[in-house]
């Protein structure tokens, strides 16, 4: 009996296991299926965070926007430190430049994340949806504006992600059409977004209007620009009187800040995924080489200001010592010490270099928490001044009002020139107000001054950057390259 029981038990066990069926291996993924998402307000908000994420990767656009211009030199450890950056500085960039490829890829990643939300914008209804859709449109416009500035004609995708397979059929949309979509997005965003948001750092009505104004100015549409920029200026913004505080930690998201890319130092980062970093990578790259002393922290000494831009400041301009750090004077005054990198000029981009007091989470050069002041009221005022001066008929009086607000804040006397002199004054003011913030190269290009000011700039070629050759190949080798490359 006992023997039979054992046998029975053994056989039962054996037979039980044979009864596993094929769906044993059907285990659903822990992560949600992307096609079955957007079922609640929370889903939309989560996807929106994903769309904001790529703003943090625009540190590269900011860095190269200065390095490509006459404001700064590439710097770094040596002539071979990040060859892509060195090439852009010397205007010898070609179709195998890794940094340009990063900008192309990261901006399109942002476009796709914004389009993901807009693809499903009609799926679920809830109150407050316009705010979310408005922000998604603002972000799509932001990313496309970067793409069109850097590369000219780019594939345009509206309210749908570009799916695997489509890269072989999609064409480069002409610039004008892309701009038209950007304008439409920003107009819709301006209408849908509130003047202020509950969450710090989110796009607002003023941000959409300001960006729209800038986009108009870039296309020389000065009449439209003047109108929309006036609306932006009348928003809840005011110039910060203590200029030195704007770029410090306590000045983040201040009264002058219309749109600011948010960063933090609490998360670690590595070189294997720079676009993943929650810190401002440009700040570590711009930092003082091998620095030992108060207030500041070390960095890789890229993006170093030239003597020329230092000399561009008028005497008495309080902005000079905020924007430019004269390292030799600083070291002498504070007993600190520092090293010299490649192309050492003696100056550093003081607005965006590493400061003491942050957590220095590893890799500490990649996790600086300095927010990027993407759109400041001063920037908008100067754009408005330019628009009013260059539109027909010109409104120089209004232009002077805006210009002098910026000048007076900077401790300089008001101007009263008009016409082409005013235009030159505005261009000059723009340079010293916004040095180090990534705007200079494109300002020179759109005003036609680039070939005059930038060494090695070839008109008809360098206004846009080449589409990475490998990107053309990966899309089926159908697109023409930008002229000259």
């Amino acid at each position: 009996m006992k023997k039979n029981n054992i046998l029975l038990g053994a056989l039962t066990i054996m037979l039980l296991v044979v009864s596993c069926s094929d769906d044993f291996i059907d285990v659903p993924s822990r992560n949600e299926n992307s096609e079955e998402f957007f079922n609640s307000q929370e889903d939309y908000e989560k996807a929106l965070i994903g769309a904001y994420d790529l703003l943090q990767s625009t540190y590269l656009n900011v860095m190269l926007g200065e390095i490509a211009s006459d404001n700064t030199l590439a710097g770094g450890e040596s002539a071979t430190d990040v060859p892509g950056i060195q090439e852009v500085d010397d205007m010898i960039h070609g179709t195998t430049n890794q940094q340009l490829r990063d900008i192309w890829g990261w901006m399109f990643a942002g476009v796709n994340r914004a389009n993901y939300i807009l693809e499903f914008q009609d799926k679920t209804e809830f109150s407050g949806k316009e705010n979310i859709i408005g922000q998604a449109k603002f972000l799509r416009a932001y990313y496309y504006f970067e793409l069109v500035k850097w590369f000219g004609d780019v594939p345009l995708a509206v309210d749908t992600r570009i799916q695997f397979g489509e890269q072989f059929v999609v064409e480069r949309t002409p610039k004008a059409q892309v701009y038209a979509q950007i304008e439409a997005d920003l107009i819709a965003a301006a209408a849908a977004l509130p003047a202020t948001q509950n969450v710090v750092g989110r796009a607002t009505k003023g941000a959409a209007q300001s960006l729209l104004g800038k986009v108009y100015v870039y296309q020389d549409k000065f009449e439209e620009a003047a109108t929309v920029l006036a609306s932006a200026i009348s928003g809840p913004y005011s110039l910060v009187t203590d200029y030195a505080s704007i770029f410090e930690h306590e000045g983040e998201n201040g009264s002058e800040s219309i749109f600011e890319v948010q960063y933090t130092d609490v998360e670690g980062a590595g070189f294997d995924c720079l676009q993943c970093s929650e810190g401002n990578v440009a700040v570590g790259f711009n930092g003082i080489r091998q620095y030992d002393g108060p207030t500041f922290d070390s960095g890789y000494s890229f993006n170093v200001p030239t003597q020329e831009v230092v000399d561009a400041f008028e005497t008495g301009d309080i902005r000079k010592d905020v924007a430019i750090l004269d390292i030799d004077a600083w070291n002498a005054a504070n007993g600190s010490s520092s090293g010299e990198g490649y192309e050492h000029t003696g100056y550093f981009n003081r607005k965006y270099i590493a400061r003491k007091g942050d957590l220095n989470t590893g890799d500490q050069n990649l996790t600086n928490p300095n927010n990027y002041r993407s759109i400041r009221l001063a920037d908008v005022l100067l754009l408005a001044a330019e628009a009013n001066n260059r539109k027909t008929p010109a409104n120089d009086a209004q232009a002077l009002v805006y210009l002098n607000q910026v000048r007076q804040r900077a401790g300089l006397a008001a101007l009263s020139v008009t016409g082409p002199d005013l235009r030159q004054a505005i261009d000059q003011e723009r340079r010293v107000e916004l040095v180090g913030e990534g705007h200079r190269f494109f300002d020179l290009v759109r005003t036609g001054a680039a070939s005059r000011e930038i060494d090695g700039f070839v008109a008809g070629k360098h206004e846009v950057f080449p589409i990475p050759q490998i990107e053309i190949e990966l899309a089926g080798s159908r697109w023409a390259q930008n002229p000259g490359y």
Binding site: K3, I6, L7, A10, M14, V17, C20, D22, F24, I25, S29, R30, N31, E32, N33, S34, E35, K46, A47, G50, Y52, D53, L54, Q56, E77, S78, A79, D81, P83, T96, R101, W104, W106, F108, A109, R113, A157, I162, F164, V170, V200, G201, T264, V266, E267, Q275, E278, Q290, Y291, S298, G339, L359, N360, G362, Q364, N365, I470, E471, E473, A475
Partner: protein, 1012 residues
């Protein structure tokens, strides 16, 4: 006439009577020489007759035989003996475990075979060979023992894993073979104590096909010791102690040489010389001497084996403690293993088999083989700096770039420990019924807790160092891994006249699952490790917080398989084996859920043929061939569906906010990697089994390699957490010849010798990568430079892709005539070959400048036994592998190799090494200047032992006592200038790059084996 007849009858009568008188009852006992226990079931046959008997449970027998008859005594696993009957009527026979390998049991999947009948390319390594090498990890015992199995150490640090590659590199993905210990899947071999192993069986060809989709990298089946029936309790104690040291220090400059060269390089760059007085520098600090030290190792094992009529068992306990030659205790590895193995016949036809292994190990780790690792820093550190400065603090490494820091300080500030707590258990039941059928069900289970603690104290190594820590942090990872395998199969065995048939049908279910937990605490109150705990930290972050919402910190992967095998032989002479297996995995896409994997092999025992009968030279000859389609399922999870596993993190109020975004782009067609493998071979024994020979030729073609080939950036694949879809789009081929020859025999009465030699050639070629000009790249060289390794059609996988050099520019004329680089070359710089002839040397001029895959690997084992003394040695060679020398930091103030003393200083001074210059120069680009020949011959082990004679031991009740001394990693003959030419991180693309590899130590051991 009458006399002849009379004589004839007398003689006949005498003969007959002598025969009748001499027919006597011989009784005796057959014993096993090793243990002294009686052997049951031993066959005793009178030569030339068919009269015989077998021994009883105690090994006793009786037989009627005449004086002068020859008794043939044979027993499986033991050397047969012939005893001529003399005057004695009582005989004691001592049988020794057999050298004759033909009857050895080979473990194949879900069953066993006799070596003679194996039709696949299978290699067996027994416990004796393993024990001779005293390995800390079992992989160390495989090196050089099996042709076609290449073991590269990923590091010489205690507890470090090895890479096992069977017959080349079959994929750019995961090349690890499937390893089963008593049927249980084991990924991390550090938990197995080599002393517990009975045999290691390596299935190299399509015979691994019984494992279907997990077989394409080969299969290793390990069985642990189990004891034997009717064996009296045998207790063994094996212990050794040893000292380890490094076999090599790399020649770098001393302080005076450093100062001299630095002055020169600065002056050439147009700066002033930093050292005005070289004579005061002296020798300075030898940083390698500061980080290398002699380190202690000790290993103790206690094993008890035995068995009675219905059961057999084996229990073992082991403790290993090993310090590291870099960092001493900071690089310590210790391990406790406890093992039990128990087989019981519950009923005559119902058998229970169970095993359990418990391992607890602790490993302290140091940074290695990376920029800024300990040895990297020791080589680059400024020799004029002392280890500690005048205040007693570790000196700061100023001016040496961001990564080079004081390595002694680095060791002191590293606190990185892995602790593994693992149980591996198996339980099986086998029920035999109806004479020919048996059904077996086995459940195998693993449970492991892997805990890692990393503490980073506040430390300043110098200005701008990436390793400076401002706020201390403690990270605790608590990961849990579990898996189970449940096999059930039915075997049918039948013999009809001379046809022998064995059929197997079965199912296997495998599930692996686990959970990841990780917390990091910042600002602990104490900066001393161990004084405060994570709970005391000012800020604690849950690193898995985002994932936990969706349970994405867990995983669950399953495999469902059905298989069937047919084994047929006719007279044991014509052999056939055929296998079909169907596998389905949670990893495969919906369009390719299940795969079918057929394989088969045939064999012909030529030596059993009649025409072969009287061959005096070859007594055993077998031809075999195999062919199969098998797969690799290590392809990553959920690649077939687009899920929101991407990273979506932004910031609000300086806090992170977490969203959701698409992860890797989907490929619904994703499937396993598939391999077609074919093998032909022969096995032969010559001169009465004195010499054994094995030759194999194989071709393995792996298709559908998984590549995350680049896709257009407009798809958004470069978003954080996203990536291009993984597609099956690559082919690679490995082919080679394997050869093994061995001899064992008695040279004289007291002197026995055994020697074996094996070699394997390997030719690896990538056939296709995703598109016409498709390529994959990997590895890293220098800082900010392009990846040095590539995978491209027509070349070996992971070859080095860089510039070719052509001497040094000796004068300005040569510079003007030569090609330019992005930094204009000057006199004394390296001249590169302008492959495309456009006058400019750039990324388009890169060619194949070497690869890390050896062309030939060889092993040699040599041993002698003279009376009570035994000697054994083994050597291993790898020929044709190249290594990239990547431990020199390209920065003006770091130290240099002393090869720089032969730098270019003027016309015709040298054509090999360029000038030194602190300024911009093109000599740091990736070229064959940094690729060295890594071929080497390593004497792995020399051991001499003495076994005390029985007379001495009997008084103490000890069965066997042997003491021995041995040296591991005696010497390596190589041209490579780095620490260890066997260095590689094992990556298929990116392997073979040396960033200051922790060398494998030389160990001097004294030990003893004691058997009670």
């Amino acid at each position: 006439m009458k006399t002849h007849v009379k004589r004839f009858f007398t003689v006949t009568f005498l003969l007959v009577s002598s025969v009748m008188l001499a027919q006597q009852n011989i009784s005796g006992t057959v014993m096993e020489q090793d243990t002294g226990g009686g052997l049951p079931g031993v066959t005793i046959v009178i030569s030339g007759t068919d009269r015989g008997t077998t021994t009883d449970f105690d090994g006793n027998f009786t037989i009627s035989a005449n004086k002068g008859d020859v008794l043939l005594i044979s027993y499986i696993g033991f050397d047969s003996q012939e005893i001529t009957v003399g005057d004695e009527t009582s005989i004691i026979v001592q049988l020794v475990e057999g050298q004759n390998k033909l009857n050895e049991i080979v473990v194949t999947g879900y069953g066993t075979q006799i070596k003679k009948e194996v039709t696949g390319a299978v290699a067996v390594i027994g416990a004796e060979s393993i024990e001779k090498l005293n390995p800390v990890r079992i992989e160390q015992a495989l090196q050089g023992q099996v042709a076609g199995v290449n073991i590269t150490s990923s590091s010489g640090a205690p507890g470090a894993a090895s890479n096992i590659r069977i017959r080349g590199i079959a994929t750019n993905g995961d090349n690890r073979p499937l390893i089963l210990v008593d049927g249980n899947v084991i990924e991390d071999l550090s938990v197995i104590n080599p002393r517990d192993i009975e045999s290691v069986n390596v299935l190299k060809d399509a015979s691994a096909g019984i494992y279907g989709v997990r077989a394409s990298n080969g299969v290793i089946l390990i069985t642990t010791k189990g004891g034997r029936r009717n064996m009296p309790l045998k207790v063994e104690l094996n212990a050794y102690n040893g000292i380890q040291n490094t076999t090599k220090r790399i020649g770098v400059l001393n302080a005076t040489e450093y100062g001299y060269i630095l002055n020169e390089s600065q002056v050439i760059a147009g700066n002033s010389a930093p050292f005005s007085d070289l004579s005061s520098l002296g020798v300075g600090t030898n940083w390698q001497n500061q980080v290398f030290q002699n380190a202690y190792i000790a290993d103790t094992n206690l094993t008890a084996t035995g068995g009675n009529e219905k059961s057999n068992y084996s229990f073992g306990l082991g403790y290993l403690n090993q310090d590291g030659i870099v960092g001493g205790e900071k690089s310590n590895y210790n391990r406790i293993t406890a093992r039990g193995n128990y087989t019981l016949d519950i009923l005559d036809n119902l058998q229970l088999k169970s095993t359990a292994i418990y391992t607890r190990s602790n490993r302290d780790k140091l940074s290695e083989n990376a920029i800024g690792s300990i040895l990297f820093n020791a080589l680059n550190m400024n020799p004029t700096l002392p280890v500690v400065d005048s205040s007693g603090a570790y000196s700061l490494a100023e001016g040496l770039g961001g990564e080079v820091i004081n390595p002694v300080a680095q060791i002191a500030n590293t606190y990185d420990t892995d602790q593994i707590d693992k149980i591996s258990a198996t339980l099986g039941l086998e029920y035999t019924f109806l004479n020919d059928l048996s059904i077996q069900s086995r459940f195998q289970y693993n449970h492991a807790n892997v805990n890692t603690d990393v503490f980073r104290p506040v430390v300043n190594y110098g200005s701008g160092k990436v390793f400076n820590i401002d706020r201390n942090e403690l990270t605790e990872n608590r990961n849990n891994f579990q898996d189970y395998t449940w096999d059930t199969f039915l075997t049918y065995e039948k013999s009809i006249s001379n046809h022998n048939l064995k059929v197997l049908v079965g199912q296997s279910v495998f599930k692996t699952y686990g959970t990841f937990e990780s917390y990091t605490g910042y600002d602990l109150p104490s900066n001393v490790y161990g004084e405060s705990s994570l709970a005391d930290a000012a800020e604690i972050i849950d690193n898995q917080e985002q994932n936990k919402e969706r349970e994405a910190n867990t995983f669950d992967v399953r495999l469902l398989s059905h298989f069937s095998r047919l084994e047929y032989n006719y007279k044991g002479k014509y052999l056939l084996s055929a296998v079909v297996r169907r596998d389905g995995s949670t990893r495969f896409g919906p369009n390719n859920r299940f795969g079918i994997f057929p394989s088969g092999s045939v064999g012909w025992l030529v030596s059993d043929e009649d025409f072969f009968a009287n061959n005096n030279i070859v007594n055993f000859l077998k031809f075999r061939a195999s062919y199969g389609i098998i797969g690799n399922d290590r392809i990553g999870d959920y690649r077939y569906v687009s899920t929101l596993g991407g990273e979506a993190t932004y910031v609000a109020n300086e806090e992170r906010v977490f969203g959701l975004a698409e992860g890797a782009l989907a490929n619904p067609n994703i499937k396993w990697e598939e391999q077609v493998t074919s093998n032909i071979g022969l096995d032969a024994n010559l001169f009465n089994d004195a010499v054994n020979l094995s030759v194999d030729y194989y071709v393995r073609k792996t298709e559908d390699l998984l590549l995350t080939a680049q896709v257009s950036g407009i798809l958004g694949a470069s978003a954080p957490g996203s990536s291009a879809p993984t597609v099956n789009a690559g082919d690679v081929e490995n082919k080679g010849l394997e050869f093994l020859i061995g001899y064992q025999g008695n040279i004289s009465q007291d002197l026995k010798m055994n020697v074996s030699y094996n070699f394997a050639t390997l030719q690896n070629t990538v056939l296709f990568v995703s598109g016409d000009n498709g390529f994959e790249q990997g590895g890293s060289f220098g800082i900010g430079l392009e990846p040095p390794s590539r995978m491209v059609a027509g070349q070996p996988i992971g070859f080095f892709y860089g510039l070719e050099t052509d001497g040094v520019f000796q004068n300005q004329t040569e510079v003007n005539a030569g090609p330019t680089t992005n930094i204009a070359p000057k006199v004394g710089d390296l001249r590169y070959v302008d492959q495309d002839g456009d006058g400019d040397v750039d990324l388009d001029d890169r060619v194949n400048i070497g690869d890390p895959i050896p062309d030939v690997t060889m092993g040699l084992n040599l041993g002698f036994n003279y009376k009570n003394i035994d000697f054994s040695s083994s050597a291993f060679a790898s020929i044709g592998n190249e290594i990239v020398r990547n431990y020199e930091r390209n920065q003006p103030f770091v130290n240099r190799r002393n090869a720089v003393l032969d730098r270019w200083v003027g016309p015709n001074s040298t054509n090999e090494n360029p000038r030194v210059s602190a300024g911009a120069n093109p000599n740091g680009l990736f070229s064959d200047y940094f690729v060295e020949d890594g071929s080497y011959v390593r004497i792995q082990n020399i051991q001499i032992g003495y076994t005390f004679p029985d007379e001495v031991l009997n008084t103490l009740n000890i069965k066997k006592l042997r003491i021995y001394g041995s040296v591991n990693n005696v010497h390596t003959f190589t041209k490579y200038s780095g620490y260890d030419p066997s260095a590689s991180n094992g990556a298929p693309i990116g392997g073979g790059i040396d960033l200051g590899f922790y060398p494998v130590p030389r160990t001097f051991i004294a030990g003893l084996n004691l058997t009670f």
